[in-house]
């Protein structure tokens, strides 16, 4: 994370993962791929050093929090049960947190103007 996207979402014609009988559930894969899409938006709209638009920054942050809010319960961190959670769930939440950390550090000098709806934190 930090380098410009080489392939844009609109250039990808593969459908997102879907449920199919006889195959393992695709919730985890779908969550990873949708988080990757949000990260692509953040790289484009938040990380850019010139021409950063506040509206696009706010929209990207809202997308990130919406992703978290829509995460299925079995992919969320459960307080006190981290040791028993599978690796992919830990990694998924690790990446989500990493995005928040980097956004915070990049916007640390200008987040005063972000509206409260960008700052919801549902655990």
């Amino acid at each position: 994370m930090g380098r410009p996207s080489q392939i844009h979402d609109e250039d990808i014609d593969t459908e997102p993962p879907a449920e199919m009988s006889g195959f393992p559930q695709s919730h985890g894969l779908h969550a990873h791929s949708s988080l990757a899409c949000v990260m692509g938006q953040i790289i484009s709209n938040v990380f850019r050093t010139r021409g950063r638009e506040d509206d696009e920054v706010k929209k990207s942050i809202m997308e990130l929090h919406n992703w978290r809010d829509n995460l299925p319960p079995h992919l969320r961190l459960i307080e006190g049960e981290w040791r028993t959670l599978p690796k992919d769930v830990l990694l998924l939440n690790l990446i989500y947190n990493q995005v928040n950390i980097v956004i915070g550090l990049i916007l640390i000098d200008r987040c005063f103007s972000l509206p409260s709806e960008c700052l919801c934190w549902n655990t």
Binding site: I101, L105, L114
Partner: protein, 147 residues
């Protein structure tokens, strides 16, 4: 690349807050003025704990030190500000430095990350001593003595 991207906003923020860094009771809590602080702090704490859980699965992978470093730096930077971090954060930072040192035995970048977090922690500790009236600015230490 990430560090280069981060360097200027972090420096600009620290400079803008320099008048408040030594103030033990800032008039407005920084997290009130800058609500994203809480989100970033919470994410950093969670990731340092998560990285400990993930070490069980893959102790020497790239993401181990990459994520530990980002989270630790985030906590250390915010420790510059009065009343935003806690003593348990200091324990997390100390553990992160130990983990980065351990990873640094096999990876030169991880070793550099450990040194950077440790050096910045020393500066923060000195700011806190000045803020608490236990040291003057003229006694400021910028880097630890070599071990």
């Amino acid at each position: 690349m990430l560090l280069v991207t981060l360097r200027m906003p972090v420096l600009e923020y620290l400079i803008s807050q320099s008048g408040e860094v030594f103030n033990p009771q800032p008039s407005t809590p920084h997290s009130t003025a800058f609500p994203y602080l809480n989100i970033t702090l919470q994410a950093a704490r969670e990731n340092l704990l998560l990285s400990q859980s993930l070490r069980v699965y893959s102790p020497y992978t790239f993401y181990s030190f990459h994520y530990i470093f980002s989270a630790a730096i985030s906590l250390v930077v915010q420790s510059f500000l009065a009343n935003e971090t806690t003593s348990s954060d200091e324990v997390l930072i100390s553990e992160a430095i130990d983990n980065l040192k351990e990873l640094g035995k096999r990876n030169e970048s991880a070793e550099s990350c450990a040194k950077m977090v440790r050096d910045l922690s020393v500066v923060v500790a000195n700011v806190q001593l000045v803020r608490n009236g236990l040291r003057t600015v003229s006694d400021f230490v910028f880097s630890p003595r070599e071990e």
